[in-house]
């Protein structure tokens, strides 16, 4: 299979504008089958917005988006189910496509919440619900999986297990993954391509090259960066408070 057959999404110079202010600008990225692309960056740096462009939820106000994915699954960052609805886990698993019960149980087992299958969603804890969200996305067997801070609220041991599961799923389903995460250890050790965002792409590349990049060090601080990088080089640009590049 050549390189192009593996391409799922290509963003070329994309950006989103809200009331004449650019939330993100100049975003270019590619997601391929079997690869994990991660977005890192501070709060408000446009990670979720970028993910939503890749998912076709938001239209890009500039540039172009090519999407070749046939089945996308999404684990949103904050989801509030309206409690006026009596929704059980099993109903939620079938939300956007019909999945047979064995596969539902299998997916829930993977994330360790199979015992909650008939519970009402609003009785779940934050971490349990997050596991159900991930299970639902996996059960869909997507070719593109977008995970927006998927392990928030999950306990410490669970976090590691879920990250390993995500890595495993990527290989097993041969799906492309776009991951937003604050867990730099996982990002640096398990993903294929890292994009460092702050309203624009500060730097991107393999985890190895990223940890050496000055923009990364500037964004995440000397201490955090130092745990993962061996040396640093010259800054090629610096930021204003809103994240734009200082000239």
């Amino acid at each position: 299979m050549n390189e192009n057959n593996n391409l799922l999404v290509r963003l070329k110079d994309c950006g989103v504008q809200k009331s004449s202010k650019w939330i993100v600008k100049g975003i270019s990225l590619e997601i391929h089958k079997g690869k994990i692309v991660t977005l890192i960056g501070p709060n408000g740096s446009g990670k979720t917005t970028t993910a939503k462009m890749a998912l076709n939820i938001l239209k890009s106000d500039e540039g172009s988006i090519e999407n070749y994915s046939t089945k996308m699954a999404y684990v949103p960052q904050k989801i509030s189910i309206d409690w006026t609805m009596p929704l059980r886990v099993i109903d939620f698993m079938n939300l956007t496509s019909h999945i047979n019960k064995d596969e539902i149980i299998e997916a829930l087992e993977l994330t360790g919440v199979q015992h909650l299958i008939y519970n009402e969603i609003h009785n779940l804890s934050g971490g349990e619900f997050q596991r159900v969200l991930i299970a639902r996305a996996i059960a869909k067997k997507p070719d593109l999986l977008v995970l927006d801070e998927p392990v928030q609220g999950v306990d410490f041991n669970g976090e590691i297990a879920l990250y390993n599961l995500i890595k495993e799923i990527c290989t097993k389903l041969n799906c492309g993954i776009l991951l937003i995460s604050h867990d730099l250890h996982f990002v640096m050790s398990a993903t294929d391509h890292v994009i460092c965002l702050n309203g624009h792409i500060c730097c991107s590349g393999s985890p190895k090259s990223i940890v050496k990049n000055s923009s990364y060090i500037e964004l995440f601080g000397e201490h955090n960066a130092a745990t993962l990088s061996l040396y640093q080089h010259e800054h090629d640009h610096s930021h204003q408070t809103d994240g734009s590049v200082k000239n």
Binding site: M72, D91, L95, T96
Partner: protein, 268 residues
Amino acid sequence: MFDDFFIRALVAGVGIAIVAGPLGCLVIWRRLSYFGDTLSHSALLGVTLAYSFSLNIAFSVFVISAVVALLLVSLQKRTKLAGDSLLGLLAHSTLAIGLVLIGFLSYIRFDLMGLLFGDILAVTTADIGLVWIGGSIILIILYFIWKSLFSATVNYDLSAAEGMRPEFSNFIFTLLLAGVIALSIKMIGALLITGLLLIPAAIARNISNSPRQMIVIAILSGILSVVVGLFASLEINTSSGPSIIVVALILFIISLVPLEIKGQLQKR
């Protein structure tokens, strides 16, 4: 045993209750009760226009409700007012325009009470056909957009990301709501239609634990309210709309009992 008009009202009312069940559940889940109110208040304008230009009432009500719904969407994009303020603005201004127009139409004798609160005497055989055919169309369309509509109700982004085209189904849903209001205005009246949408679904929420169960119970309690309400209306000579809604309210109060018992048991 019963007069013909009463049988007609029963048949039409049951049809309306069946359509109102699933739509009412969606109205509750999506917190659209005030939106339903706005559409039904504007229905009065639809009725007066129907009289002015001798149009079919249901058709005219449907068109006006749909226009109001579209106006709301475009106003939401253009102004900085919150949704509830815009709804209030549209609800009361369309109601007011409707009432002003009635003033101009002094040459036609109007049964204003009938328009506002429903009149079973007004249900004709043609109306029964309208309710059942129109209702079936609404339910068939609802069936086809259900997955999209339901997933968007749970989470819009998730639904959009996974190719359910929620924007389209939301738009269709608005038209379906306008449709059910058009079908039920004669029977229930402009002021009380939202009650028939909401209360059976609220009863169902109290005693169900899955979406499907909630819809079935909403339909059944809607039918029960209509049947008992119409009998009461006949017996004690009250308007049909209010009688049906009062019965629904009584059922709602009864549906609270299992919740109370459950709560007491959990305390122990």
